[in-house]
């Protein structure tokens, strides 16, 4: 019953009044910013990160986890009420959720999303706690070539899951890897691509990139569109509780979504987006009960299943991060950056060297989920009011918070110039139809990948075949190949195209 001892340790850490308060503040702030239309979890986390700088590492991580869940949940609220997915993982929620809102059933839709997320979060936390220990042991079997192969698998996964063109996503990853190399090379001490600028020898800050592209780039793009297109269903949210019939229909959907999300979240490159899509597809394939509304016209299962799936997946995607130190997606890449700021290097050693922190974080994830349901359902009226704030008041505030956030990272105006630059770059990317999320993942993985590639080839004396002769590494590479082959298979390609076309409308 090691698991319970671990969880007890975690509860001991997380259930102090101070840490509970930080979890609460994190959830509140995360939802507050995440609910604003046009701001996804990436921008939310980047923007709120400075709020944790002054805290001790454990409290900071607990607050970050709260921000993370708050941001995810806030995104779903916006999706349902405004028909505007704040992020890719709530894209499918929009389809049925917005239809329910139009029929005056926004309340049950929001409740279904909340309950689905909470249940999935509980299961996800248990899965995380149960798998963390054995997987950390697997991590010690990993040599540099295995790490390399695993990162490659993750990057291939990111390419496959990026909406839109494969070549573009691949290019964005390569670009991200290259940007990650800017700065001092750890092996030779040479400052690469720094143009003799002292600030650049430390590399480009990941917050600068995230805020520039996901904050400023998005704002500029939003401002270029006419304002009248959005319609908010704020007036007719009354009665939160789903009817008994709703409950009967949504529970099996939540269970299926949770199972699917928990499994898919662990896969590198997987995570919230893929599981939400997969869960929706599965629900659509099941037979409609008599009297049930068809999918696409406001079926509650179409809200509950993907929301449960994406929350379970966002929980279990902490597994590769915490056990192997490898972020499986862009949001987790941001969490790596956040942890390094607090001097924690994610990886298998965290559990043994910092057990309080590790188990405290896991338990606080569960607390975060519980807090969300306590917080969000009663406070829904406030979030709705926030949604009706006109964008012309919001965006100057967002620009301000981004600017203060980047400045306070190093107390240096250099970061403000850089975020301006990346804002322009981000807007150019949007105009050229290039998705910035894979770039951020590549950016974090760049230095790690170079380091492991160097070590692997140093050990093999320059022989590249080491990647295929070691069984674990060969298996991972094979999986990456299979994933790539899968995209090129016409049948899968069609469904992938269809899935991403659906999100466009």
């Amino acid at each position: 019953m090691e698991l319970f001892n671990h969880l007890a340790l975690g509860f001991g850490v997380a259930f102090t009044p101070v840490n509970l308060m930080y979890a609460f503040v994190g959830c509140l702030l995360g939802t507050l910013i995440g609910v604003l239309p046009g701001i996804g979890p990436l921008a939310t986390i980047a923007m709120l990160l400075p709020a944790t700088y002054a805290l001790p590492p454990t409290s900071a991580l607990i607050m970050l986890a709260g921000i993370y869940y708050g941001a995810q949940y806030g995104g779903s609220t916006t999706a349902i009420l405004v028909n505007l997915p704040g992020e890719a993982s709530s894209v499918v929620t929009v389809i049925d959720g917005y239809q329910m809102a139009r029929q005056g059933r926004a309340g049950p839709a929001l409740a279904a999303a909340g309950m689905g997320s909470f249940f999935a979060g509980c299961v996800g936390t248990l899965v995380l706690a149960a798998f963390a220990v054995p997987l950390t042991e697997v991590a010690f079997l990993f040599g540099p070539s295995e790490y390399c192969a695993l990162m490659l698998l993750g990057l291939v996964g990111a390419v496959v899951l990026a909406s839109g063109d494969l070549l573009k996503a691949l290019g964005m990853i390569l670009l991200g890897l290259l940007l990650g190399l800017v700065g001092t090379d750890v092996n030779s001490g040479v400052a690469r691509f720094s143009f003799d600028i002292p600030e650049l020898t430390d590399g480009i800050g990941f917050i600068v990139i995230a805020m520039g592209m996901f904050g400023y780039g998005e704002i500029i793009n939003n401002l270029s569109r006419p304002t009248s297109a959005r319609q908010v269903f704020t007036a007719n949210v009354h009665g939160l509780m789903p009817s008994r019939q709703d409950f009967r229909r949504m529970w099996p959907a939540i269970l299926r979504g949770t199972g699917l999300g928990s499994v898919l979240g662990i896969l590198p490159g997987g995570g919230a987006v893929m599981s939400a899509f997969a869960a929706y597809t599965i629900e659509k394939k099941t037979r409609l009960q008599p009297g049930e509304v068809p999918f696409g016209q406001g079926n509650i299962r179409g809200v509950a299943a993907p929301e449960a799936a994406n929350n379970a997946a966002s929980q279990t995607s902490f597994i590769p991060l915490l056990t192997l130190g490898i972020p499986p997606n862009a949001v987790m890449a941001l969490m790596v950056g956040a942890m390094t700021i607090h001097n924690i290097q994610p990886g298998p050693q965290v559990m043994s060297s910092n057990p309080e922190l590790f188990w405290g974080l896991i338990v606080s994830m569960w607390i975060g989920n519980a807090m969300l349901i306590v917080l969000n359902l009663p406070l829904i009226g406030i979030w709705i009011k926030l949604l009706s704030v006109p964008y012309r008041w919001l965006y100057p505030a967002i620009v301000l918070f981004c600017a203060i956030g980047v400045y306070s990272t190093n107390n240096n105006t250099w970061d403000i110039w850089m975020v301006g630059l990346f804002g322009v770059v981000g807007y150019v990317f949007i105009k050229l139809g290039m998705e910035p999320a894979p770039l951020l993942l590549g950016f974090i993985l760049g230095p790690m990948m170079e380091e492991n590639l160097r070590r692997a080839l140093l050990l093999s004396r320059g022989d590249w075949s080491v990647f295929v002769t070691r069984p674990l590494s060969a298996g991972l590479l094979l999986a990456a190949l299979a994933l790539l082959a899968l995209v090129l298979v016409p049948a899968f390609k069609r469904t992938r195209d269809v899935a991403f076309v659906e999100d466009a409308c």
Binding site: G171, R392, L432, G433
Partner: protein
């Protein structure tokens, strides 16, 4: 050519990839067994440049049903948002080269808000002033009093040490 988005994305990748690859030659490249600092960037740069070239060719030569035109650029929002950000930086740090002293957070917030508001469809002076005041008060409360971030709040020449 209908697919201008893909074409220029290809151009961008090719240029950036070549630049990184070319820059990497300044560093010691080494061999696969003993990689120098130039090895990995050179490899990635070449790959990115090749990929960009392939995208350009594909967009230029093949007619696809993907009609992805770039569309008009939003110059006004872009200039206003970036300028607002840069002015805020100037307010916080000053410009030592021009002997411009740091004006501090409060002045910076007013500058940023007014310039950012120019990005919208209509600019209303009163609205911008109200918004800036509200943001200044909120920021003072949250960042200075509550989070105690190390920010210069008032102009340096007004602060008595």
């Amino acid at each position: 050519m209908k697919n201008t988005q893909d074409f220029y994305a290809g151009v961008l990748f090719m240029l950036v990839g070549s630049a990184f690859g070319w820059g990497a030659l300044d560093y010691q490249v080494g061999s696969s067994g003993r990689m120098g600092p130039g090895y990995f960037p050179l490899l990635l740069g070449v790959l990115l440049a090749l990929l960009g070239a392939a995208m350009m060719l594909r967009a230029a030569l093949f007619q696809t049903d993907r009609v992805n035109a770039i569309g008009p650029w939003a110059w006004k929002p872009m200039v206003a948002i970036i300028a607002a950000n840069l002015l805020f930086g100037v307010a916080l740090g000053g410009l030592p080269g021009l002997k411009l002293p740091a004006l501090g957070l409060m002045a910076g917030i007013y500058l940023l808000t007014f310039v950012a508001c120019l990005a919208g469809e209509r600019f209303k002076f009163k609205e911008a002033a109200l918004l800036a005041t509200a943001l200044a008060a909120l920021s003072y409360l949250a960042f200075v009093l509550l989070l105690q971030l190390q920010l210069p709040v008032w102009p340096v020449f007004l602060v008595v040490n």
